[in-house]
């Protein structure tokens, strides 16, 4: 199925949780916040929420330098 991540379309296996999607993209979970369809997904829900066809994700990385 297709989802949008940071403005680009990707094909991912069906039935993934948010957490599994991050694994799929090889993203370190300590580095990011997740917005799904304009709502921030609390970290405690990443294991439970299943992603759906057409979901729009923004994966926001911590950037802390100055």
């Amino acid at each position: 199925m297709y989802i949008k991540v940071n403005g680009k379309d990707y094909e991912v296996p069906a039935g993934l949780t948010v957490s599994q999607m991050l694994d799929f993209f090889k993203i370190n979970k300590d580095h990011v916040a997740i917005e799904r369809n304009k709502e921030i997904v609390p970290k405690k829900d990443w294991e439970n929420i299943l992603i759906c066809e057409g979901d729009i994700f923004e994966i926001v990385t911590f950037v802390g330098g100055g």
């Binding site: 916040a33 709502e39 921030i40 926001v60 911590f62 950037v63 802390g64 330098g65 100055g66």
Partner: protein, 267 residues
Amino acid sequence: MRLTNEQIERYSRQIILKEVGGKGQEKLLNSKVLVIGAGGLGSPALLYLASAGVGTIGIVDGDKVDITNLQRQIIHFTEDVNKEKIYSAKEKIAKINPHVRVITYNTKVNASNIREIVREFDFIIDGTDNFPAKFLINDACFFEKKPFSHGGILRFQGQTFTYLPENACYRCIFDSPPPKGVVPTCSEAGIIGVMAGLLGVIQASEAIKYILSAGQLLTNKLLFVDLLNIEFRTINFKKNKNCPLCGENPKIKDLIDYETEICDLKN
């Protein structure tokens, strides 16, 4: 307050902008902007705020200039190595625009001093280099109802947004700092000087627009810049009802001093 002939001439190229004008210039001259961190982000921000005629500029920094800073912290020169950053910055500001009043704080911000400091200013620029300070500034500005510009940079990337009271805050996206040591610092991962320059100038631009009430601010939006691939991307985000600071059931009632891990610490 009436503009002097010298001021009209000095600021003429921005006074002719309809968004500025004589009234806007007077607003800038009467405004007070605080820059926390006179480093990669703070250097360009300070230079442009001073040249634009922001009347009072506060600088908070407890560090001395190090030779590794000079590649990006453009307010500091080679001859300033080992000098306190606040004094180095203050000297340059006086050379660019001697009319600016500079208030220096030779310290790091912490939970016991930050509220008193930000209270004195109209707009705050976060030019700090570590997550504990970034969360502290967010929380202090929330409690003091002060607008601020958040900025973060690493490698060729940067991100920034502008907080206005009653709008989304940093914790609406990131509820707490990342575990210590997980996200690399500038000294570990590197930073290209131009990224600091670009992002610091965007932060100064947000401060100036806020004072002028001109245009659109980066409020409820997060701007990402990737200079390596020359990509600019803005995502919208909104006030998060689950935010531990500004949400419906806030858990954070006071400032927190997280353990600091400093970006520029020399190893």
